[in-house]
Every structure is written in C-alpha cells, then in structure tokens.
C-alpha cells in the first residue's frame, strides 16, 4: 500500500493555490462524458453532488433514506467555524489553522488543515447566498459566538439547528441539479459493495431497500460521503442508521483505513434511562458556559440534589482545573465524568450521570436570561427526562459522538484505491486525534463544495482507461456476494435479535475501547470480538424476506460489518501506545493526569490494510511533520 500524501511543496499559505494551478482541468465540453457516483447526501455528499452536477459532470447520488434531507448532518446543533474575523477579536486563517492542529493534538496533516481554514471563508459566503438564515445582530450583520473553548468568536449559527439549515442549503442546491437533469438520485438504495477493476474503483453494488433488488452502477469515479462509525458502540448520539458499511466494504476492496481509534466522546449527553435506551441525545456543549458540574462528595449519596449542602458537593472540574473549570476540552470533561461515576459518585436513579447545575447562574442572571440562552435545550431536556432543569440540576454523561478516523485520503481526497474518494466524516483528514466544536460542518462543506469538485478533475483528466460497464464480471461477482450474504443472514433463524448482539459488541467496545483504554483491556477485546462475531453468525434471527422492505435485514447487514470493523478499531488503539486527543491510554499520562503524547514514535497516521476476516491487518504509516505549529503539550490547569 503506497501512501503518497501529495502535499504540495513550498509555503503552506500558497499550497492550495499552487496545487489548483498544477492540477489538470477537464475541458468543459468533456465533463459530460464522465460519470461520478456519490454515496451519501449529508453536508459533504449533497454539496459535492450538487457542485459537480453544476460543473457539468454526470452525477449519480445514492442515499438509503427516503430523501437526501434526512442525512445525519441535519442533527448538528452548535455551529460552523470560519475565520472571518467579523468580531475583530484577532482571528485569522492562520489562527483557525493553528487552533485546529493544536486541538487535534498534533495528529493531522498541516497542509490539509490550512486549506480548510482558508476555505472556511467561502463556505459562509456560499451558505448565506443560498438563504441559510444564520443568526444576525440588530445591525443586520452576521452574529458569532465562541464555542468549544476557542478564545475568539468565530462560530456562525442558526439557533440550535445549524446543521439542519446548512444541510437544507445543500439539499436545495442538489434538488436544483436534479431538476436540471445533471444529477440523478437513487433514494432508498444502500451501497453494499465497491467494485474494483484492475485496481481502480469503477462502480458500486446497491440494494433497493423497498424491492430487495441488487443493482450495479458503473462510473469513472466513486465518492464516499457516508459519515462516521460511532454506532459501533451501539449507544451513541448518531442516528440509528449511521453505519460503517460503505467504508468497510471499501476497506475490504483495498482502501486503507486511517486512525480508527480516534473516536470522540461528547461530555454532555443525557444518560441512558434503562435497558431499552435506543440512542443518546446530545445537549449542546454551550451549556457548560453557565452550568456547574458536580457530584456528591460521598459515594452512593442518594439524597435529592437540593438536600445536599454545598459543603458536601464536589465541583470536581473547578477543583482540578482552576483556570478552565467547567470549560475544559471535551475529552477531559468526559473522562473525569466517567471516573466519578465509576468511583460510585454517579447521580440519578441508575447512578450513571453527573449533575450540570444552573442554580447559581439563575440566581446571578435571572431565569429569563438563562431561558433566552438555553430555552430550547432546557425544553428538550424536560421532554426527554420529565424533569425541569430550571428547578433540578440536569444529569449528563459522555457518549460516543464523532469519529475522526476514516478512510485514508491524500491531499486530493483520494483513497489508496485510485478513483475512490472519501469526503466529510468518512475520511480521516483534518481533525487529527480530536475534533474541535463547530469544525465538522466546516470540513464536510469544504470537502464537498470546494475541494473535491476541483481535485476529482485532476483524476478524471488523466484517466486513460478502457470503458467498463456493469456487464463486467467484477460487477456480477460483487452482486453475487451481496446476494449470498443476504441469503445467509436470512437463513440463520437463530434465537437472538440483531439489537441484542449489537448491544453485546457495543458494551465491550465502550468498556475496553471507549474513554479509557489499556493494553490489557484491548487485548481482551481483540480476543473477544471474533467470539461475538461467531455468535452473531450462528445465533442471529433476521425475520422476513429479502424481497421487501426489511428493516431487520438492513440492520443485520450493518451490524455484521461493525463486528468485523471493531477488530481494527481495537488493534489501532492497541498499536498506538501513547495517549493523544480523544485516544487515552491509561499507561500514558502526564503528572497532571492528562494525555501524554509520544511524538518520537507516534507522530504518524496509522493506516490499516485489510487482509481477510480474522486475519491480522497490516499497519502502514504516513509520517506527520509540523513545520508551522510547534509541537507542545496541552495544559488547561
């Protein structure tokens, strides 16, 4: 596996300009000769499909939803970063670049991050022109807020629904191209395999979720915009259908998978209420601006919070981190909450959360101010828990939320399989070992609107290949494999449901490869996963047939892939014998108890090559160099 990052030489400030000039262009009249497949219609997929359609390529876009607008980007609450410096508070492209590299704990590629910061400006312009109703000041100009511990206000937002509004912008641009006939959409189709001919990506195999029909689609290039894999843990903030299948199929066909162990756990989610819990709901991180986090000092203290006097409360973040207090980064806040719960200080009926208390803020600012700032979040909390957070402290607990790892891509967003591109959360490119708040939307749209539509031309313009259509034997082979797997899943008729088995895998991952990881625990997980996988294939019961809408079958196929993928997730976490960002190995802590990097041995991207189910994958490394942002240790004391 060759890992050529294709990072342009010369000063980082000019790299993207220089690269755009160096890339070959596709003649406008030739663009319609090229077909491009885009899988996924979130921010990255919809924006890429719309832009490429507009440029003149023939685009086919696929989603397993009934409409492109359902993609999980829709659920992003907080906002989108851009280095506009509208507040005049010292922001710049360079500062956004610097913050992102540092926030990623020095495990991302500098040139990619710099380009992201540059493009952030264009994204806001584009979204506003589309009619995205960002928050405004009374003077009519765009409003900003500070987010996720940033020292400047660079986050643009549309109430608590920024992801929704940005996605609707992309969705509408996409629907416009569908209307114009440049993009053809296939809804309720799930990609179940990638077709590679002579080492080059040439198409996909899908299943029609309504009729069960397995279909082949050929193209000159394939773009995966299929999101993250946090649902490997079963309970996460991801939508129920979010899955690893498309990326994992690509991995099995030769694409390298980068940094799977970088999984972000969000500190402020509502804790599970019972065994029936199907997913976890995130409460915006902004709540930590005014809420104080605490647990009872005495383990097992079951008194209602109001009856616990101040002297018997432990405001542990304020105690441990006097200067940042409740605003420490996500990974620290998450880890400390888990430690409190694990040591018996958890609150609520199930002792599985910590308090986020607004009592003092309400006393200081008044209930109206708090309602104005967080009213919609408080309402949401009350709807879910039945408790009134104006009177009783919220209960929160960390939950898997975002995955920085993904398919390895070069500077042009091309994977190790020529002709296969990955964009948005599906690639590994920009966030290193930890993503900053309000940066996911930025990256998805940068990739989709501004990077990929340029770089894909450089691939297509150089393409000299024999025509391949779906009649090629590789398509028939892939279709057969997909059909066989479906038949196999339906024929087991065991005694356990898909969810039960997914729960089993998720619980193992959460305990052994979640917030805190140890070599011992990871080795146990690597031994246990094949056993769970075997149980899955012997004991699962998938009711119904393959010729109709069958949601159990869809779920079973996705869980089957998580069962295989989980192994490289744990192997990566074991191989990365350091702590960095969201990856916390208990063996590697600073004297202050924080993540301790080992730059000498681990300043690289870990890229895994699939060798077969149950076989040990091969690790390749892309070295990372830091020319512009000096390596340093984070400190939030």
């Amino acid at each position: 596996m060759q890992l050529d990052s294709k990072v342009p030489s010369g000063p980082i400030q000019d790299a993207w300009d220089k690269h755009r000039f160096d890339m070959k262009l596709v003649n406008p009249s030739n663009k319609r000769k090229y077909e491009v497949i885009v899988v996924g219609t979130g921010l990255a997929g919809a924006s890429a499909a719309a832009t490429m359609g507009e440029l003149g390529y023939r685009v086919k876009v696929f989603t397993y939803h009934d409409s492109p607008r359902r993609a999980h980007s829709i659920a992003a609450q907080g906002g989108i970063n851009a280095a506009k410096n509208y507040q005049g508070d010292g922001d710049s492209i360079y500062r956004l670049f610097y913050d992102t590299v540092k926030g990623g704990d020095f495990r991302s590629r500098e040139a990619n991050v710099y380009r992201l910061a540059q493009i952030s400006l264009n994204i806001i312009d584009q979204a506003v022109a589309q009619g995205v109703p960002f928050a405004r000041e009374y003077g009519g100009h765009l409003a900003n807020r500070s987010f996720g511990g940033a020292q400047v206000s660079r986050t643009f937002y549309a109430r608590g629904q920024t992801g929704q509004q940005l996605l609707l912008g992309c969705y509408q641009a996409l629907e416009r191209q569908i209307h114009a006939g440049t993009v053809e959409i296939y809804t309720r189709r799930e990609m179940l395999d990638l077709v590679v001919v002579d080492g080059v990506a040439r198409g996909i195999v899908t299943r029609d979720l309504v009729t069960g029909k397995v279909e082949s689609h050929a193209a000159h290039a394939v773009v995966l915009a299929t999101g993250g894999y946090a649902n490997a843990f079963f309970l996460s903030t991801n939508a129920k259908a979010s899955n690893v299948t498309a990326k994992w199929r690509a991995t099995k066909r030769g694409a390298g998978f980068a940094n799977p162990c970088y999984t972000q756990i969000h500190p402020t989610c509502i804790p599970p209420a019972g065994a029936y819990q199907s997913k976890l709901t995130l409460m915006s991180e902004s709540l930590r601006n005014d809420g104080r986090i605490w647990v009872p000092k005495a383990a097992g203290d079951d008194r209602p919070p109001a009856q616990i006097p101040e002297s018997e409360r432990d405001y542990y973040l304020e105690r441990m981190y006097p200067s940042f207090g409740n605003l420490v980064p996500r990974d620290i806040a998450s880890r400390r909450a888990k430690q409190m719960v694990d040591s018996g200080h958890g609150v609520g009926e199930l002792h599985n959360g910590v308090y986020l208390d607004f009592d003092e803020a309400i006393a200081r600012l008044g209930e109206d101010v708090i309602r104005d700032r967080y009213g919609n979040l408080f309402d949401m909390y009350q709807k879910i828990t039945g408790e009134n957070p104006y009177r009783v402290p919220m209960r929160i607990y960390p939950a898997p939320h975002y995955t920085m790892g993904g398919l390895w891509v070069d500077y042009e967003l091309q994977t190790t399989v020529p002709g296969l591109f990955a964009i948005g959360e599906a690639n590994f490119s920009d966030h290193g070992a930890n993503r900053l708040g309000a940066s996911a939307l930025m990256q998805g749209l940068a990739d989709g609107y501004f990077v990929l539509p340029n770089t894909i031309g450089n691939y297509l313009a150089r393409l000299k290949m024999t025509p391949v259509d779906t009649g090629h034997a590789a398509f028939a082979d892939a279709e057969r494999e997909v059909a066989e797997k479906t038949t196999r899943l339906l024929s087991i008729k065991g005694t356990r449901t898909v969810d039960e088995l997914h729960h089993e895998l998720g619980s193992l991952l959460w305990h052994k490869c979640g917030l805190e990881r140890t070599a011992e625990g990871l080795k146990e997980a690597i031994e246990e996963i094949p056993r769970i996988r075997e149980r899955f294939w012997n004991e699962v019961n998938v009711p119904g047939s393959g010729e109709t809408l069958n949601q159990s079958l869809e779920k079973a196929g996705r869980v089957a892939d998580f069962m295989e993928f989980a192994e490289i997730l744990c192997r990566d976490a074991l191989a990365r014998d350091e702590s960095c960002g969201a990856h916390f190995r208990v063996e590697h802590v600073t004297e202050e108890g924080e993540a301790k990097r080992d730059d000498e041995h681990f300043s690289h991207v870990a890229v895994w090559e699939f060798k077969g189910v149950g076989e040990e994958p091969v690790l390749h490394k892309e070295p990372l160099e830091f020319e512009y942002v000096p390596l340093s240790q984070r400190s939030y004391k």
């Binding site: 607008r69 359902r70 928050a135 009374y138 003077g139 009519g140 029936y276 539509p453």
Partner: protein, 250 residues
C-alpha cells in the same frame, strides 16, 4: 406500564392492510414512543413474527423521518414534538393505542407505517432554492439583513419535512410545507430574484402530486412539531396572487 396496541399492518404497497392487536408489557414511562415500538418489535422477532416497519433515524426530532398517527393525532398527544420525542409518560397503564401511517393519496404506503413522501422532494425540485453557483457568492456581510427578518425566515426554515401537516389536513393539503419554504426564501433578500416564479412552480407541482387545496382549517399548525404558523400560508397566497398577475402581464 402495560398497553394494548392496534397497529396498521400492510405487507406491501399493493397488499391490503388491517389492524393487528398486540400487548406490550413492562414499558417504562421514560421510554420514547419509538422505544416502546422497539420493545414490541424485539418481542415479535423472538416470537418468529415480522416486526412493524416504521421510519426513524435521528430520534431527536430533527431529521423528519418518523411520523405516525397515534390515536388519530399526527405525532400523538404531545405538542411541538415528532413521534421520536413523544414519551410514554403521556400515556397511562392499561391504555389502548391506535397506530396508523400518514393517510394521504400522494403518500402511498410502502409497508406498515412507512409511506413514500418523495412528493415533497419534487415540490422542492420545482423551485425551492436560490440558484447560486458554488463559488460565485458575494461576501457574506455585503447584504445586511435585519435581525427581525432573519428570525422570521428561520421560523419558516425550521420545517423538518415530516408531513404531519398533510396527515392532519382534512384536504390532505401540503400547503404548510410548501408555504414554509416559499416564506423562508421569499422573506430573504437572496430569494427575491426568483420569488414569484418559485411560488408558481412549486404550487403547480404541489397540485400535480395530488395534494388538496387549503381551506384554512389550521389543523396543520396544530400538528406541526416545529410550531410553524399558518401565517406562512397567507404569505404564500399573497405571492401566488402577485405571481399570477405578473405572469398574466397585469
């Protein structure tokens, strides 16, 4: 709590459907309505039966996938929530609950509670956008927009496309959905160049899909999980009138 459910079961688009009665026991009041259906489906699967098909994804009220008639009310007895945010504490032990799919001719049933809402996408395709080429946008702050205007646009833009408005309407009109988009874009300066063409195209598509006309019942506003007001329909009607005159050269 223990419940009796009457759920609409229909194996496919062409098959005939009927209510099936199920007993669900030991439901926590903290569970969501969809988690209660998960419990039913786990039980059905263990009994070797086929689970109830229903659409859902984000389970936090923003993707718009879920939606069903619960005791004859779109998204059930709570207000300002999608079905995924309806919690069982809104019900009592021993309740009988009737669960049906959205009923409207333009939404053919695919299976059980799953309907085909692609008509909504086609209404947007007809004109629910601002035509702006990627990269050709002016500087974002070049056009100041009063906060009041931006807020009003955001109120309309909050629509999640769940189609509860159609399900609630005695005419199966999709006017609230269509008007929400027309208002969102028609209020903002960016939407002005295409404003009147947009309304004509979108309404033509709305009618072509077989949705009924609006007769001001207001049931859509009551059912909307995002609280979108029927004011948007008044705005649509005004733009439709002006657009029709302009087209006729009046």
């Amino acid at each position: 709590m223990n419940l009796t459910l009457h759920v609409w079961r229909q194996p496919g688009p062409q098959a005939s459907g009927r209510f099936e009665t199920y007993r669900v026991e030991g439901v926590s009041e903290h569970a969501s309505f969809l988690e209660m259906l998960d419990l039913l489906n786990e039980n059905l699967t263990r009994e070797g039966k086929e689970p109830v098909a229903f659409e859902h994804d984000c389970r936090e009220g923003i993707c718009g996938s879920c939606g069903m008639m619960v005791n004859g009310i779109p998204h059930g007895p709570d207000t300002l929530v999608a079905t995924c945010q309806l919690h069982m504490r809104k019900f009592n032990d021993g309740d009988e609950i009737w669960v049906e799919p959205w009923r409207a001719t333009p939404f053919p049933i695919i299976r059980d509670l799953v309907v085909d809402r692609s008509a909504f996408d086609r209404i947007i395709q007809a004109g629910g956008y601002v035509s702006v080429r990627t990269g050709s946008a002016p500087e974002a702050n070049a056009t100041p927009i009063p906060k009041r205007v931006a807020d009003e646009a955001m109120d309309a833009a909050a629509c999640i496309g769940c189609a509860a408005c159609v399900a609630a309407c005695p005419n199966a009109s999709a006017m609230l959905f269509t008007a929400a988009k027309i208002s969102h874009l028609g209020i903002l300066p960016q939407g002005q160049p295409e404003r009147y063409g947009r309304v004509l195209e979108m309404i033509a598509q709305h009618d072509l899909e077989g949705f009924g006309t609006c007769t001001n019942h207001g049931a859509c506003q009551e059912a909307c999980p995002k609280g979108i007001s029927v004011d948007v329909i008044a705005r649509l009607n005004r733009d439709l009138l002006v657009g029709t005159w302009k087209e006729a050269g009046v």
